[in-house]
Symmetry: C2
Subunit: 199 residues, 2 copies
């Protein structure tokens, strides 16, 4: 860390990381461009040299979140090339783990705070890449007769939606105490996935 120069050197990434940090400490509501700028040690308008507007910074943070999610998913799945069922189980476990560990990043990625996601190519790319990874696992499970045959895309959406929905409801406090007091979220999701598995 050199002393503060006029030019920051890597402000763009510094802003993204400052944003992620604020997000985890103050939540989505506490995330402002000016706070991010201050945390990065620059003036309140400096971010505009790197992001055309706040939405664009949010897109960058979300993209970074997706990159991390993909990495964790892949790390959980890859060791089990020969075992489709464990791919499914460990993948969903990693997804739930990510959501619980990086709650607010997860929210900003999926809760519609980012309004025109299609306008951010990097976001679309990693988002599609992630879905493709899910698709791979689903196809592997289909050929192993662990999941029903049929359109793999729809089935992948079903599986992802299943996990995503339960996690989302839990994060919003919509899942009744009687459930979450007796079972950990991971168990609930595992149960749900088990519901879809054949035999």
């Amino acid at each position: 860390m050199p002393a503060k120069k006029y030019h920051h050197g890597d402000l763009k990434n510094a802003l993204i990381n400052a944003g992620i940090e604020i997000l985890s400490k103050e939540g989505v509501g506490g995330l402002s461009l000016r706070k991010v700028a201050k945390k990065a040690g620059v003036s309140h308008s400096a971010p505009y040299a790197h992001f055309p507007d706040k939405q664009s910074l949010i897109a960058a943070i979300s993209t970074e979140g997706f990159n991390q999610l993909y990495a964790e998913l892949d790390a959980a799945i890859s060791p089990h090339i020969k075992n489709p069922k464990r791919q499914l189980v460990e993948g969903t476990r990693a997804y739930v783990q990510f959501a619980m560990t990086h709650t607010d990043t997860f929210k900003i990625m999926f809760s519609g705070i980012l309004e025109k996601e299609k306008e951010y190519p990097a976001f679309v790319e990693i988002s599609c890449k992630t879905f493709k990874r899910v698709l791979d696992v689903v196809v592997a499970c289909q050929t192993a007769k662990i999941l029903k045959s049929g359109s793999p895309e729809i089935l992948a959406v079903s599986v992802w939606g299943q996990v995503h929905g339960i996690v989302s409801l839990a994060l919003e406090g919509q899942i009744s105490h009687t459930v979450l007091e007796h079972y950990a979220l991971q168990e609930v999701v595992a149960f749900a996935i088990d519901q879809m598995v054949l035999s």
Copy 2:
């Protein structure tokens, strides 16, 4: 509509309705207390006589949304007392329909914009009541051997999460074009639910 008096008469509900209207026209990002006040024809501070803060108005709007969701769910389910499977099918259809028709109300209900939902008793009540309604259907399906036996609460969470997750992903544009171009959202959800049904 009487001419404008100093006292509005039913400002609280007028504010809620103005909020819902703004929500549907400008989305979550366009919802501000001052716009709501203007639309209701009062000064920018008038809302504070009825809501302690913006979160509280959002809670009221969300509560109203849940009331409507419950009503539509119930209307779709009740006609089929003797047929648990149709209860399940028509209930999910109504849920998807609600989300597609009142997209931004749905978002404000479930996307964590409301930060401390537990502090709003009316919200908690209708939210629990809705879950109970889902639970009823699930139990009926279990006794009819249409859904697996086991903890009905977890199963209800699974079913609700399944539908909710797919709908949420679709609303956020996270479901690939190749899926949503060839199948309507209702079909995708129906497929997913069919996946859980026995036989």
